[in-house]
């Protein structure tokens, strides 16, 4: 390898090998990643990589839960980057460790290293020479930096990765024996609840504390400005106390909310920061060029995790300890330090698994809530759990987006110019990114911190609202622009795929529209604007698997869409079939993906299927509901999601790319699924619905 070899991101930040793994004489390897399990199966992929490089059985790999006191700081588990950042770090660290162990074995046995082989940690050499990792564990120090020149196994020599491996956490979840954070009990633990108004920004005007008189088990009523909560001996008591608080609290004011049913004018009229995302200068449009302008709308979406956010906090003499299901324990620690005015090393944040996480949900906010309650009962662990209503209505939302696309189409039917403009709140209000905290309760304290207005990182960092706004197609000219709102009555932050969901919906709807307008097959139209071979391959594979162009059942339609996630990640093409006999119902999705090297192909398939089913739910059913005064989608009745009776069949083909870098799989199916469904509606009815969710009412409205 060349002298310029670069370490994977995780090792660049934390190069010391012993921060990543250790060998135990008892016969196991402890792996300590900074990325966390959020339901996506990352722990299994990391164990696979580690075991493969070390030539040990995967059962010998133990995963240490991430913790700010000991784990490498790997930022946030987000953006479909865990395999490329953390996985490749684990691969190199394990490969280097294997080399160190073999070198020591060769020295002790007085044989060349090349004469040794490893099987499940047992090292054997010529004759009866034998030792093992476990015997050598105390003789080899891993307190040394990672060496970028180390060569991991060649793709063909890998035995565990690239093959489907059962999730290491799944059986425990099926039997109910692997605890979620909600299930953990600590000695002396007490229980907290927080009361929040449904109107964002409302302040606590008055509280009739007499309402809590005689409440069994009450330990502390906590009021700090408009932050209101209580701590009780038992969870049942805390729940009863919360119900009493709800009748005793009067709220006033709050942010005026926009008109849920007419979001575009509001999005386009609010004060905003305008910026050019990307510009490609081309020749002036030639005579005969047609211009099409279309407007698309994506509503606010809720994370809608099945388990409400939860945290456990203990305020001990030596500082604050928090257990959280946050995606970013170090970033959360930074914001907790800001709120409490503590040094970061006075706070330890550990990770415990929560319910499925699809982005920046309420986990971090719940951690601050728990810490605020725990401060009132020093020395006692407080478990805080949000209500279903708060989980749906007070977690950050995925931002609503208005998108306008204008396309110039030449006489040859090729796109000659393209403009894409976005009006949206930012997509990133994660903790730990600024000098001021981004946690919900911090805005409500007696001495409040300023409301943190959601930002968009630059495209090089993945972008936010502008993610996937730049087309991957070979258009000769484009102008991509963005208007990031500077007001934020409804709090928005990162939700799976970020802006890519809305942008790909718009781009791929528009491509379909132009193709149909000129009587061209949408697949052929895309392919003649697409020179990227990997992009063409997934489109062709999805189309072939769906028998694209073949007969479609009466009352149904099929649509096609494609994107490369972030334009640098996984390629994904989707053919969707929809039935329009009643409410639109997705019947089948045929998906082809290229994720580069797939560490665990079954894990990739699970992520793609899950992402596509979730995106089907977003596209056909979901929209945060609110009046001018409060968020009203605060239960599963008012925020319905896709159910078992409505779920489409999904087939996933993974294009094998064992020799190419892994690209991540978690978010690539979202945008293409939405557009494929919209295009399927058009194929069936000849109607374009440019506003999600695509409901029967919206279809009827689009017909008129």
């Amino acid at each position: 390898m060349s002298a310029e070899a670069v370490l994977p991101l995780g090792l660049r930040v934390t190069p010391q090998l012993d921060r990543w793994l250790s060998i135990a004489p008892e016969g196991h390897v402890t792996l300590s990643p900074g990325k966390v399990e959020i339901g996506q199966g990352i722990l299994t992929a990391l164990a696979q990589i580690c075991a493969d490089e070390l030539d040990i059985a995967i059962e010998r790999v133990r995963l240490r839960p991430a913790d700010t006191a000991a784990s490498p700081n790997e930022g946030v588990t987000s953006g479909s980057l865990s395999v490329s950042d953390c996985g490749l770090s684990v691969r190199l660290a394990a490969a280097q460790t294997r080399g160190l162990l073999l070198a020591e074995a060769a020295r002790l046995l007085s044989v060349p290293q090349e004469a040794l082989s490893v099987e499940d940690g047992a090292i054997t050499g010529p004759g009866n020479l034998a030792t093992s990792y476990w015997e050598l564990a105390d003789k080899v120090s891993l307190a040394r930096p990672a060496d970028p020149a180390v060569q991991p196994k060649a793709p063909g020599a890998r035995t565990l990765t690239g093959r489907p491996v059962p999730r290491i956490d799944l059986a425990g979840k099926v039997f109910g024996t692997r605890p979620f954070i909600h299930d953990l009990d600590e000695p002396g633990m007490v229980h907290g609840r927080v009361l929040r108004p449904l109107r964002p920004g409302a302040t606590l005007e008055s509280l009739d504390e007499a309402a809590l008189a005689g409440l069994d088990g009450l330990i502390a009523l906590v009021r700090d400005g408009s932050f209101l909560g209580l701590v009780c001996e038992s969870e049942v008591q805390a729940e009863a106390g919360l119900a009493r608080l709800a009748t005793a609290a009067r709220w006033a004011g709050g942010f005026p909310l926009p008109d849920q049913h007419d979001l575009s004018p509001w999005l386009q009229g609010e004060p905003a920061e305008a910026s050019i995302v990307d510009l490609r200068e081309g020749a002036a449009p030639s005579p005969g060029t047609r211009r099409l302008v279309r407007r698309y709308l994506k509503p606010y979406l809720a994370h809608a995790s099945i388990g409400p956010s939860c945290a456990i906090a203990t305020w001990a003499e030596d500082g604050l300890r928090v257990l959280t299901h946050s995606q970013g324990i170090f970033n959360l620690r930074a914001d907790l330090a800001l709120v409490f005015g503590l040094p970061e090393d006075g706070i330890v944040v550990g990770h415990a698994e929560g319910a499925g996480c699809y982005g920046h949900n309420g986990a971090d906010d719940a951690a601050l809530d728990a810490a605020l309650l725990a401060r009132a009962v020093p020395g006692r662990p407080v478990r805080l759990r949000w209500s279903r209503a708060d989980e749906l209505a007070r977690s950050p939302f995925g931002a609503a987006m208005a998108i306008e696309i204008a396309a110039e189409v030449g006489e040859d039917g090729r796109i000659a110019g393209w403009s894409h403009e976005i009006w949206s709140n930012g997509y990133v209000a994660r903790p730990g990114r600024a000098g001021s905290p981004a946690l919900l309760a911090s805005f409500d304290l007696e001495k409040p911190f300023p409301l943190y207005i959601s930002q968009d990182p630059p495209l090089a960092g993945g972008g936010g609202a502008q993610r996937n706004a730049v087309p991957l197609y070979d258009f000769p000219a484009w102008r991509i622009a963005k208007n990031r709102l500077l007001t934020m009555p409804l709090r928005t932050s990162s939700m799976r795929a970020l802006g890519a969901f809305g942008n790909v919906f718009a781009i791929e709807s528009m491509m379909d529209e132009i193709a149909h307008e000129q009587g061209e097959d949408p697949l052929a139209f895309r392919l003649r604007h697409l020179s990227d071979e990997r992009a063409r391959t997934v489109l062709e594979r999805a189309a072939a698997n769906a028998d694209w162009g073949g007969a479609v059942a009466e009352g149904r339609g099929r649509g096609l869409a494609f994107a490369r996630y972030k334009n640098t990640g996984a390629y994904c093409a989707v053919v969707a079939e929809i039935d329009l006999a009643a409410e639109p119902r997705a019947t089948q999705l045929w998906i082809a993906v290229d994720v580069g090297e797939a560490i665990n192909p079954d894990g990739v398939a699970n992520q793609i299927e899950g992402g596509a089913v979730q995106a089907t739910s977003w596209t056909l059913k979901e929209e945060v509901a609110f009046t001018r005064e409060e968020v009203t989608s605060a239960s599963w009745e008012s925020y319905p999601i896709l159910r078992f009776g409505e779920v489409p069949e999904v087939t996933v083909e993974i294009v094998p790319r064992l020799d190419l870098p892994p690209l991540g799989a978690g978010e690539c199916a979202q945008g293409p699924t939405a557009a494929a469904l919209a295009n399927a509606v058009h194929a069936a009815l000849g109607v374009r619905v440019r506003q999600m969710p695509i409901t029967r009412d919206r279809i009827i409205a689009a017909m008129e």
């Binding site: 999730r167 099926v174 099945i306 009776g645």
Partner: protein, 158 residues
């Protein structure tokens, strides 16, 4: 004072001291330490807290303790263990049919109840039986396959 509520949980008769208005889920997760049934919404709308009462799936989050006095409650722990899995549990593992797993114990309960009354359900019957259970990760198709597999396993065992 109440003398306590008698009921059977996972085959064992016992007396619970909680007040009769306490929700069954709180009794299971609190006093009895059975954590596999999970809180999701508190309104009986998501299925994460489902248990069997006399063989019928119910939402334990809004079922008061008094209403199960004298009845037989089966939680996910009572359906099977790693050493002796219920066919639905074995099939879910074989199909790798979960992502986060928060909803899965409630789904085990719904599917076990279905197979107990209908050993060879068709696709529509499986979907109908699982319709009260929400899954946000999108593992539905794997779960449906697992329930079909479990039905086939029971067929072979019969």
């Amino acid at each position: 004072m109440e003398a306590g509520t008698r009921l059977t949980v996972n085959g064992a008769g016992l007396t619970v001291n909680a007040v009769p208005e306490t929700m069954l889920l709180d009794v299971l997760r609190g006093e009895l330490g059975l954590k596999a049934a999970r809180f999701g919404c508190g309104e009986g709308l998501c299925g994460a807290c489902r248990v069997l009462v006399d063989g019928h799936p119910v939402a334990s989050c809004n079922t008061p303790l008094w209403s199960v006095a004298g009845r037989a409650v089966t939680t996910p722990e009572g359906l099977g263990t790693a050493d002796a899995p219920h066919p639905v549990q074995a099939a879910l593992i074989a199909e790798q049919a979960a992502q986060c797993g928060y909803c899965i114990s409630g789904i085990v309960v719904s599917a076990a109840a279905l197979l107990a009354r209908s050993p060879d359900p068709d696709d529509a019957a499986i979907r109908a039986a699982l319709d009260p259970n929400l899954c946000r990760c999108g593992a539905h198709n794997r779960i449906l396959r697992a329930v079909r597999r479990a039905a086939a396993m029971r067929d072979r065992a019969a």
